[in-house]
């Protein structure tokens, strides 16, 4: 039976999709509230076109496409332009009707390695160009639609299992169906799950082979003509790539800091360098102590952490102590460590924003800012010394990826803590006739990126503030005041906002937002509106050291 909050997952392809549906993990389906519906590809176009009006939006649309699916008999010869046009229309429509659009396009060959006539156009001369054209459209769809991903572009021997085809109407073996189901589950987790912000890594036998203190730096296995060393090197390559997409890295290792720093600086095989880690705790404290200290220093929640270590004892101890932290299970070999990183969907964000790429550098800059704070006479002087420039924008379409990411990731400075998909946010903005104001910031040490946004609408001369979301890493330097000031100014600019009111939904984590709302008389203001002009004057004083651009 369909649950009220179920997320529809639509699968399109050949008849085998009824079987694919069976291979989804039932606990996963239940936990995520998925309703998996399969359709033959022949019904794809009509259902997709009617989706918005008849069944509502879908969470996921998965299309397993073979060229044969695009012809009614499997023997029609289609011009590649016709194929391209038809595929593009399908992809565009499907991408606009769901939150995650997954394209699967296996290249089907027969046992002799030739493109299979069973699944592509009848004319051999057209096969290759038609296949290429569909690939072009897949690449284009992934480029154009932020919610689109392509998977399963491997070569598949179509004739390898005739029995599977005649009995089950599937060109995939049961183990391939299982793999497809796991891939889709991981994509769903990546798209809709809570991402990890910080991965804390052990060093010995985790990022390199051997124990630096016992074996000596010269005897560690890393890179070189050694399968073990190469595997550790590839672990570092993988982590470096995740770091470049916004994952923060840190080290907690029972080691001597000077020895570790020397090796990281001087080893030609090291991929990860000191600046790739926002925190390095190499000491003899317990790892639990180090983790608590990191959370405090970085102003992050342990819920947002993941832990990578070859030692089962360390993993078990930390899993017991911090049940909400993700612990990457492995058997201690570099191959298993690599796999544990690859297989953890929360480490792999699907939509990478420009802020993600800046994140690691921000934390390194922040250490310099805090150094300045320790010598500044007061908070106001510190803000002044930073030379902050805030850039204000009201272009929701331009900033929607980052806005939705902030809405869904931010816990501490989030007034409503509502969680919406990009499509839901966009729909709400239109329905509520809301305005979204974003703030980006820079200072003498670096770029903070887009660090906050607010949504509001004006009704009956009252400015109704809905979302007020601010990144915890940029708090306490009057930028949150600057954002609220821009909201007041925009409301007044419309000429008819006299009062301001705000909804607030208290959670276990959003105390910073509550304190801020209390300070500016917004808490409880959903009942009686505050005077917007008075609030604006107060905020102007607070923001005197911030240079605002684009207000």
């Amino acid at each position: 039976m369909k649950r009220a909050d179920s997320k529809p997952v639509l699968l399109y392809g050949d008849w085998y999709l009824d079987s694919l549906k069976l291979y989804f993990n039932k606990t996963f389906v239940e936990a995520w509230g998925l309703e998996i519906i399969s359709h033959e590809f022949s019904t794809f176009e009509s259902i997709i076109h009617n989706l918005e009006t008849t069944e509502g939006r879908s969470a996921v649309i998965y299309v397993d496409l073979s060229l044969g699916s695009l012809t009614s008999t499997g023997n029609d010869t289609l011009e590649q332009d016709q194929i391209g046009e038809r595929v593009r229309t399908l992809f565009d429509t499907a991408a606009s009707r769901c939150d995650l659009f997954v394209l699967s396009l296996p290249t089907l060959v027969d046992a002799s390695g030739l493109l299979s006539e069973n699944y592509v156009c009848a004319s051999n001369t057209n096969e290759l160009s038609a296949q290429s054209r569909v690939y072009e459209e897949v690449v284009q769809a992934v480029k154009v639609h932020k919610n689109a991903v392509a998977v399963n572009a491997q070569i598949k021997i179509a004739d390898s299992n005739l029995k599977q085809w005649v009995v089950q109407k599937s060109r995939y073996s049961t183990s391939e169906l299982k793999t497809q189901a796991r891939v889709l589950e991981r994509l769903i987790e990546r798209a809709f799950g809570k991402p990890v912000k910080l991965l804390i890594c052990d060093l010995d036998n985790t990022l390199w082979g051997g124990v630096i203190g016992d074996d000596g730096p010269q005897n560690l296995r890393l890179g070189g003509h050694d399968p073990i060393g190469e595997a550790y090197r590839l672990i570092q390559v993988k982590l470096r790539s995740l770091k470049d997409k916004g994952l923060l890295l840190a080290v907690s290792s029972k080691n001597d800091l000077a020895t570790v720093e020397d090796f990281i600086l001087n080893s030609p095989e090291m991929i990860l360098r000191k600046d790739d880690f926002i925190s390095m705790k190499c000491n003899w404290n317990s790892k639990a102590e180090n983790i608590v200290e990191m959370a405090r220093e970085l102003n992050l929640s342990i819920d947002d952490f993941a832990f990578l270590d070859d030692s089962p004892a360390e993993r078990a101890a930390l899993a017991a102590q911090f049940p909400s932290m993700r612990v990457l299970e492995n058997d201690g070999t570099p191959y298993s460590i690599f796999e544990s990183i690859s297989a953890c969907p929360s480490l792999h964000t699907l939509a990478v924003t420009s802020e993600d790429k800046l994140r690691s550098g921000f934390y390194l800059d922040e250490a310099k800012r805090l150094g300045l704070k320790s010598v500044a006479p007061d908070s106001s002087e510190w803000v002044k010394s930073l030379g902050i420039r805030a850039t204000i924008s009201q272009d929701f379409d331009e900033d929607s990826s980052r806005v939705v990411q902030l809405l869904n990731k931010t816990n501490q400075f989030n007034a409503l803590t509502r969680r919406l998909t990009p499509a839901e946010m966009s729909d709400w903005m239109k329905t509520a006739k809301a305005t979204c104001i974003t703030v980006r910031a820079q200072d003498r040490y670096g770029d903070y990126g887009l660090i906050g946004f607010a949504t509001f609408f004006v009704e009956n001369k009252v400015l109704a503030l809905v979302d007020f979301v601010f990144s915890c890493r940029a708090m306490s330097r009057n930028l949150e005041e600057c954002l609220l000031l821009q909201v007041c100014t925009a409301g007044l600019a419309r000429g008819d906002a006299l009062g301001i009111k705000a909804e607030f939904a208290e959670t276990a984590k959003n105390k910073p937002a509550k304190v801020f709302y209390e300070k500016y008389g917004l808490l409880g203001s959903s009942e009686r509106a505050s005077d917007v002009k008075t609030l604006q004057c107060r905020l102007q004083v607070m923001c005197k050291h911030i240079n605002v651009i684009g207000a």
Binding site: K163, V167, Q168
Partner: protein, 94 residues
């Protein structure tokens, strides 16, 4: 011969069934009718169960057995326990 004499095939079948249709497994799974009169499994589940078993036997034990044909030849109805025993017997003969 008891149901549990054919533990490996039985377990493989039960594991696969737990994955495909956990809700269909009764308290005594050996008595579950998988094929023929009185069977409650969806035909698609039966097909996937048999093909998955074939694939397991082929990849892990290098045994090529046409279980689809074999199942159809058994006297009906067939329980999971009977099926596992018959497959074991067939493997022993081979």
């Amino acid at each position: 011969m008891s149901d549990h004499d054919s533990l490996s095939i039985y377990d493989q079948a039960l594991n696969t069934l737990s994955e495909l249709a956990p809700q269909a497994i009764p308290p005594n799974p050996a008595q579950l009718i998988i094929y023929g009169h009185g069977g409650t499994l969806e035909s698609l589940v039966v097909v996937n169960l048999i093909l998955a078993l074939e694939e397991e036997l082929s990849s892990r034990q290098n045994l090529k057995i046409d279980l689809v044909k074999f199942l159809a030849q058994l006297s009906q109805p067939v329980t999971l326990g009977q099926f596992a025993r018959e497959v074991e017997a067939r493997i022993a003969k081979a």
